[in-house]
Symmetry: C2
Subunit: 243 residues, 2 copies
DNA sequence: GGACGTCCTTAACTTTTGTTGGAACCCGGT
DNA sequence: ACCGGGTTCCAACAAAAGTTAAGGACGTCC
């Protein structure tokens, strides 16, 4: 994938949540990015490490997670092309969680130094990236609610719909189906349940004719039931720059 | 409480996580703040509202929460004097959650306009506040882990220790005891369990001689057991500006 | 094309947590 | 001093989720 296409995905996403001037877009397009390939299931940055770059996903899926002393892992967020999952490392240099690939991925790295210089030169760009980290935090808030208050089937539906709404922005939803390349183990880690229970819940949603999950692809069978179960209100994604 | 004391609490807290120049401190001290009193259990800003100010806690405890369609409420974070719990509203104008007082509180309001002007004038101050919102997000990540992966007794212990470590910064820990003015209903909402189960867990920790919770005050009975149970690693609080 | 590993699937059983309902306690107001 | 409302506390039962164990599907590598 050419480096230009990567930038385009980023800019498309930023435009959804912030109004950007053409001049600022040119600045972002001029950002030096070094591209690297990663296999599936590989750590990009680890908890405790000191980051010097931010990572822009050009292609593939990533996830952030934390592992506790007992060895249990919690997935905190899923990430798709055009996103910068570790933007927070710009000012929180020591990572407090892991960032890793779910699928094979193409990642672009932008140095903290470059970004900080750009921010000083163009405060509006800084605000746009700041806003991006705030939306990240808003998604964490909703994730807390999901894990803390919703029954397991609703949790799964909610995570699916959030992912779908984000994939939609980058044109990656194909009718009633979209990618969600997680194993049942990982789905459990995202929802705060065990893999066995994740399996039960997936089966239940299939048997009730709501949604089908097969080989990393979600197919919605009954959109109305699906939305109702998920209790989804996308306001927290803050996708409107005018507000 | 005089307006100066409020600023002092804010600056003390910011100093813990960022290095600040004297000149920037003077700028923060010069910020116009309008102070207001709130009774306990009162909404400061509500989900869906458009915020025009940020709220600095001068005195008292606050909490952020979200309520889902079924009526269940999830507490997302607790806040203590010196903090600005809705700093995120600076760039995410429409609230995606509630901010309310737990106890009677004195709150200082700083307009978004004032803050944005200060940021343009002093990019370093902007970065410091940005960092503050990033730490906020880091605390959400840990909260996800808490609710998602730890058994209920560990969840309670973890929330208690997080609160204690933050109270320590502002000199509000008195030996083995500190304030935690939540009802058992609210503790349940914070931990993602019911009030009845919260009561069970509190009783269990008391019977095991680990920690006592009485009338909004926590008293640690066995520090070693307490720490071990909570599985607490404070790195996510990012309290060292040098890193 | 067989062996291996990973993931998915399911069942049986255990533990944790939710639900319901009620009694005791505490505090503020009259 | 007494009342009333909100907590706190508790027990019995129901439901949800965790644990353990084991077979089956599928893809990959020799």
């Amino acid at each position: 994938m050419p480096s230009d296409a990567i930038r385009a995905a980023l800019i498309r996403r930023l435009r959804i949540s912030s109004a950007i001037a053409d001049e600022d877009i040119r600045e972002i397009e001029a950002l030096p990015i070094s591209v690297r390939q990663y296999p599936a299931e590989t750590a990009v940055v680890r908890d405790g490490e000191r980051a010097t770059d931010c990572c822009l996903i050009a292609d593939g899926f990533c996830a952030r997670s934390k592992t506790i002393a007992s060895g249990k892992r919690q997935i905190l967020s899923l990430h798709i092309p055009g996103e910068i999952p570790d933007l927070m490392s710009l000012f929180l240099h020591v990572m407090d969680h892991d960032l890793s690939t779910l699928t094979a991925a193409t990642l672009g790295f932008i140095s903290h130094e470059t970004l900080q210089k750009l921010h000083r030169r163009r405060p509006v760009v800084a605000e746009m990236f700041w806003r991006d980290t705030l939306i990240d935090a808003a998604m964490f808030r909703e994730w807390i609610v999901n894990v803390g208050q919703r029954p397991a089937p609703a949790r799964l539906a909610h995570v699916m719909i959030e992912l779908r709404e984000r994939l939609r922005i980058i044109g990656r939803v194909d009718g009633a189906s979209f990618e969600m390349p997680l194993t049942q183990e990982q789905i459990g880690e995202a929802l705060g349940i065990t893999a066995v229970h994740a399996n039960r819940v997936i089966r239940q949603l299939r048997e009730e004719g709501i949604v089908e999950l097969h080989r990393g692809r979600v197919t919605v069978l009954d959109e109305r039931k699906f939305l109702q179960l998920a209790d989804f209100d996308g306001r927290y994604l803050h996708q409107s720059p005018t507000l």
